[in-house]
Symmetry: C2
């Protein structure tokens, strides 16, 4: 129930990604009391995650504490935690620790996770790219493969260690494959005594008949050419049949590899199924006001929501949709409180872009299509602009300049999972060991 007057309406936002964060910011001057909950303490700029995976940026360069972003906004509090269940009728959300939080308005912006299309065992042999932890793990596997190859005397295994397979040629896959090719042939090879750039292979596997299917065919072609110039072997029209311990099986080809990078698909997070409202393709169906059916004060935005565009097709799972939906939902809540009628959400498509290594990119803005250096420069500017936090912008820009000038990567760090220190030599010896 919405209570106006003394007690402000309580808005609960689940998720601090693009959609959730934009909703919270757009509610700054609305007389509501906002709680934003996220499983992580940080907002992650996912479009640059592949640069963490390819050792170009540090995780903290593209992640910023959600509470730092919103610290100046008085009507928001941020909680780190996981909502495990929601009762839409009672207006209550349950947390992983058993705590319960009541709400008048709900905004579900919990995002997406990796999807293996029913082949979850493939997850045992691949690593995907949705979280900071994924990116660190991907970086660890890629850099470790080079380290192992340097020590390997068996030629077949060395070849396998230096074969990197990227599955899925959407923007993430294309950018990752380009970065991997640069890393293998230009950045790393010089540092190894036993490896030559020719030993390294990067393959990009796509089920469709072109890369970047969401963009114009001419740009797909341009992107493919740029990838091939970098040495990426592009395989189109290839549905993966199986991923096993040290090989990927395509319909007519077996690729021996020890590193499979998965960027092929996303599925909504588990919370979507717990709301009791209809799912379509696993996502929460919402109306033209982003509200869930029969629950006008519960909204879903971003990757977890499925909303139809004007062309009758679902809006894509990209950050501009999430951000615009977030701002729209904030305006709907403001309008509700002021007694205004809801106008339907309209997505303004500002275009799409993808970069392919150094100085190359493709971009589509309305009917304009660019490729080459200008598109790349545009890509840099747009990504810096949308990156949250002044310090992160400076840090990323300096890293990019440094990489451009000296052809190096600044975050070539292999980190493992933390474990307790091993027991010292003997207790007696340890007892007498020196103080630090």
């Amino acid at each position: 129930m919405v209570v106006v007057g003394e007690t402000k309406a309580r808005v609960l936002i689940i998720g601090g990604g693009f959609g959730g964060l934009e909703t919270a910011k757009a509610l700054a001057d609305v007389p509501v009391s906002v709680t934003l909950v996220d499983r992580n303490n940080h907002h992650l700029f996912q479009p640059l995650l592949y640069q963490v995976a390819s050792a170009g940026l540090s995780p903290a360069d593209i992640a910023i504490p959600i509470r730092a972003v919103l610290s100046g906004q008085e009507n928001v509090r941020v909680l780190m935690g996981e909502v495990t269940d929601v009762d839409l009728d009672q207006g209550e959300a349950r947390f992983e620790d058993g705590g319960v939080l009541g709400f008048d308005y709900l905004v579900v912006a919990a995002g997406a996770q990796t999807n293996y299309f029913g082949n979850d065992h493939w997850g045992q042999h691949t690593v995907s790219l949705k979280t900071v932890e994924d990116a660190i793990e991907m970086r660890r596997r890629v850099l470790s493969a080079f380290e192992k190859a340097e020590r390997e005397t068996d030629q077949a295994r060395r070849r396998r260690l230096l074969t990197f397979v990227v599955i899925g040629a959407g923007p993430t896959g294309v950018e990752l494959a380009g970065a991997m090719a640069e890393l293998s042939t230009r950045v790393l090879a010089g540092d190894y005594r036993n490896l030559s750039p020719d030993d390294c292979r990067v393959l990009l596997i796509e089920m469709a008949d072109r890369v970047l299917t969401s963009m114009a065919p001419s740009l797909s072609e341009s992107a493919q050419k740029d990838l091939e110039k970098l040495g990426v072997e592009v395989r189109l029209g290839q549905a993966v049949k199986s991923i096993e311990d040290s090989r990927v099986i395509l319909p007519n080809e077996i690729i021996p590899t020890e590193t499979v990078l998965w960027t092929a698909g996303v599925a909504p997070v588990g919370l979507a199924a717990k709301l009791g409202t209809p799912l379509k393709r696993g996502r929460l169906e919402v109306g033209s006001d982003c509200a869930l059916p029969h629950h006008p004060r519960a909204f879903a935005v971003g990757d977890i929501a499925l909303q139809m565009g004007e062309d009758g097709k679902p809006l894509p799972g990209v950050s501009p949709v999430a951000m615009q939906q977030g701002r729209y939902v904030a305006s709907v809540i403001e309008g509700d409180l002021a007694g205004r009628k809801r106008a339907p959400f309209e997505f303004r498509d500002k275009g799409a872009m993808a970069t392919i290594g150094r100085s190359r990119a493709v971009a589509e803005i309305g009917r304009l299509r660019f490729s080459g250096f200008f598109a790349w420069f545009l890509w840099l500017a747009v990504h810096l602009f949308y990156l949250v936090g002044f310090k992160n912008r400076v840090s990323v820009l300096l890293n990019w300049i440094w990489q451009y000038v000296v052809y190096r990567r600044g975050a070539r760090l292999i980190t493992k999972a933390w474990s307790r220190p091993a027991v010292p030599v003997t207790e007696d010896e340890a007892g007498r060991a020196l103080h630090n």
Copy 2:
């Protein structure tokens, strides 16, 4: 056996810390074939590790790939791996994967690990600070404690969550305690709605009767005053009796806390005990030429070695000792090959320093003693100078300027151990989920 002429003498260096890296660099113009082995791919600048733990720097800012440092040096190859056993008589080292490498000269520079002085179960309730993984785990625990406290309604537990205990007041402990106090009272508190800086406690526990026992008493006093000004509660002459699930027990005091940071002691790594030569305080005894007894071509340098100084006391486990020993051993090997007699190692003590938060430090250089702003400035300059890698210097310097100006920390990132993605909602739904 040293083979001269066609085949160059093979030098095996175990460890890429300060000692091992300096040895390798100093051998650049010596006609030997060097192999440097390290468990990690990076050289770590441990003196700044506490700034990673306190969210000021990213791990990659203070770590650099060993092979990148040495890539221009033709007579060195770098291997990532772990030496598990050494046969000094045969001149062979065994690796974790069963591989064997022969050597003519050996330099053991494998360093130290955390030491709980026979109370290894304390490790279950504490985190120490020797590796990048330790620092990330420490950061995770500290930042998570604030997040939990923000959600906690029980006053006693909230108080416990906001009590941080640092054990050991050597340079690392002093610097960490100062950084924790700044983080708690100035940086973080403003971002939390339910917490006030007054709720936070940082305690520094030391067994001896003063902090920084390796420095002059007047500097200990000055450092203690600076710590207390920052709000750190310094407890001297307190041997920890026990560390339990959520408390630290001192002789006359029980401190309820959920975060115990251990900087009290180090012990040599396990490899020391496998060489079959005498240990003293768990460290490898070496002669005045840094060689192991009866093995004139096997040396130990840095924290794993125990060498007596001119005053009859063991040289301290600090980086200047390791670096000077490393350069000395390289000159001994060069002299051996040229048929020169060995001159004994002489440690030139350049002094010691520690910083205590913003604008405060203590420094001792020969007979000169500084404290306050000038010592702090000196500390900054010296650390930047010794930090390896141009890019890391620029990055650290910019981070420091930013922290100084805006009172923020740039790497407030909670990262967990990587795990495979959860299984999607249902296979059926997942199968139909959208492509990225």
